[in-house]
Chain length 464, copies 3
């Protein structure tokens, strides 16, 4: 029996399922447009083989190790944080022993997809099949078909966007540009490290920003110029978007003098929490202002409380599965920025949330009104069958489909890209099928929408 059924994620009702099947058949094999994610351009620049199954599937995937950790597995035993995994087979065995924990989670769907579609495995992962899996995957990883570029092609990726620090030299992207392998991999401008005073090394980052750009980043004006400079640099290498991961969605509209004063306080290191929050708020507005000028699409990802687990953070650092969502206000928070730019036809701001209650209450009403706003797909913990379905159910009636922007795979795990798009396409088709079965739209419209959600809206929103 295969790991994956061909009708997975489709509603059980036969009428609805058959509509979903027909819709899915038309989008299943469309190329992947991936406008937001966390893969590394370096993989494609060097095109080295991935070292081993644990390094590939476990170490970079915080969905995986957070679940294992929650059930008592030590991160040390998973060799998390190590550059080279010493006992990859042992790590894999721990994972296999606990694979039942993922029942009912999207990780299970993504992993099974990769196991079956990419490695040809058909028996479920368990203690018993741990070695079979390890050997099969390890062997294939050494073949030319499993090099990053070959996978990129076999995944039928049309565009892949990475996410990069504003002070990243984008060496790998430049290498790729100059090389023979002409696939579209584009950077995304992520300035958190130079606009968030609480970011580790913030002041060093500001100094570095000055060095790279030749601007005096100790003045407000020089700082803004330096950011403009980096945005132009990213744009010259294909970037079409920026990305902003703030604790809240707060924006501000201070006058230039207040900005300059606040910037001095921030740089002095004597800012308090309020100053820092206002500074981030003002910087979202500045980024929007620059987007109006340079046309880069702005993505806002607010509401994650980073590194909730202090002990773990001290031992292992960031991105260890301990970022936890918080309730997020958009209506008051975004108003200063929207007062300035919400009616700009040339601006696109894509809003994300970890607080699903905002979809029907705030985000759909906002995106269903302001020309500059669009709704990003369900993010992070909600990038899942139930989460995606809730998104469509709570956002569509007020914002429609055309104020949404298709799917983001948003992944660090390269091999999960096709699986994630597969899930998203299935859920969209399942939702559309229900609308058709309940005679809320006609089937011809559903076919058009399936195409729009899979490709057209993504390309349009991200200006790809």
């Amino acid at each position: 029996m295969p790991l994956l059924h061909d009708d997975r994620l489709f509603p059980a009702d036969p009428t609805t399922r058959s509509i979903a099947q027909r819709l899915f058949a038309t989008v299943r094999d469309l190329p992947i447009v991936s406008p937001h994610g966390h893969t590394q351009a370096g993989w494609f620049a060097t095109n080295d083989a991935f070292p081993d199954p644990s390094k590939l599937f476990i170490q970079p995937d915080h969905y995986v190790h957070r679940m294992l950790y929650s059930q008592g597995v030590k991160l040390e035993d998973l060799e998390i944080g190590k550059a080279v995994i010493e006992n990859p087979r042992k790590v894999w065995k721990i994972f296999a022993d606990h694979y039942y924990l993922f029942r009912g989670t999207p990780s299970r769907l993504w992993l099974d997809y990769a196991f079956q579609e990419q490695f040809g495995l058909t028996e479920r992962l368990s203690s018993k099949t741990a070695d079979l899996y390890y050997d099969t995957i390890a062997e294939k990883l050494q073949t030319p078909e499993f090099r990053p570029r070959a996978l990129f092609e076999s995944f039928k990726i049309d565009v892949l966007a990475t996410t990069d620090s504003a002070i990243d030299p984008l060496t790998d992207i430049q290498t790729l540009r100059k090389g023979d392998w002409k696939r579209r991999i584009v950077p995304t401008f992520r300035p958190d490290s130079v606009v968030d005073p609480e970011f580790a090394g913030f002041r060093e980052n500001i100094a570095k920003l000055g060095e790279i750009t030749g601007e005096n980043t100790e003045t407000w004006e020089g700082y803004l110029n330096a950011l403009r400079n980096r945005r132009a640099f990213f744009k010259s290498l294909g970037a079409t978007a920026t990305d902003h991961g703030h604790p809240t969605a707060r924006t501000a509209d201070l006058d230039p003098e207040e900005c300059a004063q606040l910037f001095d306080v921030i740089l002095s290191g004597e800012a308090d929490e309020d100053d820092e929050e206002v500074f981030r708020a003002q910087m979202l507005t500045e980024m929007a202002r620059m987007s109006v000028e340079d046309g880069l699409v702005m993505q806002i990802h607010p509401g994650s409380m980073r590194n909730h687990n202090q002990i773990l953070f001290e031992k292992f650092g960031r991105d260890m599965g301990a970022d936890i969502p918080t309730a997020t206000d958009y209506v008051h928070a975004l108003q200063p920025m929207l007062d300035l730019f919400g009616n700009e036809a040339n601006l696109t701001v894509i809003l994300f949330t970890l607080d699903e209650t905002a979809f029907s209450r705030e985000l759909a009403p906002l995106a269903g009104h302001y020309p500059a706003l669009r709704l990003g797909p369900p993010w992070w913990f909600h990038d899942s069958p139930e989460g995606m379905m809730r998104f469509r159910e709570t956002a569509t009636e007020t914002a429609g489909f055309y104020n949404t922007v298709g799917f983001n795979d948003d992944t660090r795990a390269f091999l999960s890209i096709p699986a994630r798009h597969d899930v998203a396409r299935r859920i969209d088709c399942a939702f559309l099928a229900r609308l058709v079965a309940e005679h809320r739209i006609e089937e011809d419209e559903a076919f058009e929408l399936a195409q729009d959600l899979t490709v057209n809206l993504v390309k349009k929103a991200y200006r790809l």
Copy 2:
């Protein structure tokens, strides 16, 4: 192919659908009781023909023009705000060109219903059919069958409540009362303009309130008397309810001296935001107190942040689709008023929300306890198939059906009234059908409930 399928909005599962069909057959043709809405008594007083399709369908419908605006259509091009539309056919064409935007929204269902049931149109609205639609509708609007009174009758409206400013002379209602056409159109007492210090022209409104009633509205006592006077006047013209649209659900219980002092501060124009909020809070309590006396049912519609888009507000004024919901607390907010009147058998307070999370957390627990409280139907952005279904799913288990009050069409668009009741009846039947199919209630109970939800609970709650 017709625009509307006879089984629309019913679950696809054949067993459940057939139950829904049977239930719906018994309520489909029941008269419409419309206890809350925003149609104009003047239409029926003068009985003039509606001027053109754009004036009828587009201009008054903020659901329609907010969606168009969100996708880049200029309100100027829709001639929003103009007393007479100069190029109604051109406006209609823009609407038709963008009709696909409404896929998956309730507007689509309401509009298609009117197009098919009232104008006999069967081909979907699009760029191609724009003129056909325009001509068909324009022509019919000139016939006697499309005069307001004729439509009122053909819609089988039993009672229609308008919503009227506390200082409105209710001339049209009086004209109707005196005339030969004896249909039940009743006003609703809406005092926002004289109880909310932030309402445009608040102090002028207070002065006018004094003039109309002969009370000295510069004193707290005279002000209360004037309100009592107006409530009696509304009641004498058939009103059974009041309606209150506050930014929050906050209530207060100040002693009379504090009230008098606060009222002075408010009238002085030197009140700050807190004073204004406390004043509104106290006025909700005063309105409840008067309801205990005069028996008018009290409707509270909190949680909308009005005129979020400043630029649009300055250009076009209120009600331009830029009111955005905010998170709303009821538990603490209502306590002062409930402490006073929550246990009054003679009081009915109907609570509405734009924050759906409140249904299972706060509103159903409150309404499932306090004798004075009832739950209003899903409001505004949630007056939609998914929104209505979520309401039943999240409120019924704690509040039951009998602490709810049936449906409000709440519309400014007269032609959407039958469509909106049609959607509400279908969704209620769909929900009841699921309960029957899952053996949570018996079918005989579902038939009784379908009648109750459609007619009996409305009449009882609104004392009609």
Copy 3:
């Protein structure tokens, strides 16, 4: 026709329903493990007959009398609060007359289950059948089969946990221990009355705590020792868990000197609301610290605003159906305690909520990360078919099944225990069936999960 259909609560779709039937067949008759509830050990210690139907079904069930109250029934007419009901038949008649109010509520399911399964009634309760019900139930209650111990056995209860004040002498539990009837009834340590300064009689309770334990509870150290002492006493009588019902989930980490000072302020009676909140916060942390030491599982039930209805509280006291949920933050609130103990392998903290929005936003992300955390089942107003289904839908994708702990019946109504477990098992099977029908898990996994959710996870989490 029976009151209950054998397929109740299963999805209508035939494929899904048949999977649900197969799953349910394997768990339907499993023994009941009830790790959290509010039955009284005294019932089993004395084994007296329950006096009459009204005393059994109406008086202790706030779900029942709150609904009646919300629709105008006076609590006086239900003889609520009386030690002996004078007119039990009259009370029963009022209940029967209003039984239609419970349509669509879980109370209806629980009551019908008891009526049919325990009393053999098959015609629906109504005004017409009121006497038949009364007589049938009254008669059976006098038979040996309806004594508490006999019912305990016929319900196939494996373990039953009561909830007991920290200063309760646990006389009944001790009597049971010494007696011949060897069934497992264990206490649960609930210290609200001695850790919440707002609890009625707080200072007297502290004094009593000192008396019972021989500790000087006027000092911080003596107070902590006294609590340790009582925990050990509860543990010696079989307790495996503690339970904490705080207004919020707030925790604190003050240093010992600050604690001692705060404790003095609290005891002085001059504490303000903030002091009281910080004290409760610190006490949650202290309780967690003691749990790390003594291994008692910690249950946190936050977010209920107690006694919202002042008038009712003054007349009838606590637990009159007037406790109302409020929005609840966990992410910031729990951090001080989690910083200290969140990574402890030996600690289990079970989190509950009355704010369902927290499941996908905060609770599943927290429980899917911290080894010490588990998610309690849907609580109170959400212990219902829709509530349970929403819990699985919103929590499983992030926390998985294995960070949940099975079902709590949480009831004061002894006869509702089998009914509540029946509903929970059915809904879990319905959810699992959908996952199987949509090919998200395999059927063999669903069978394993059904067992885990019904028995294994409960026993493991509660260390039974």
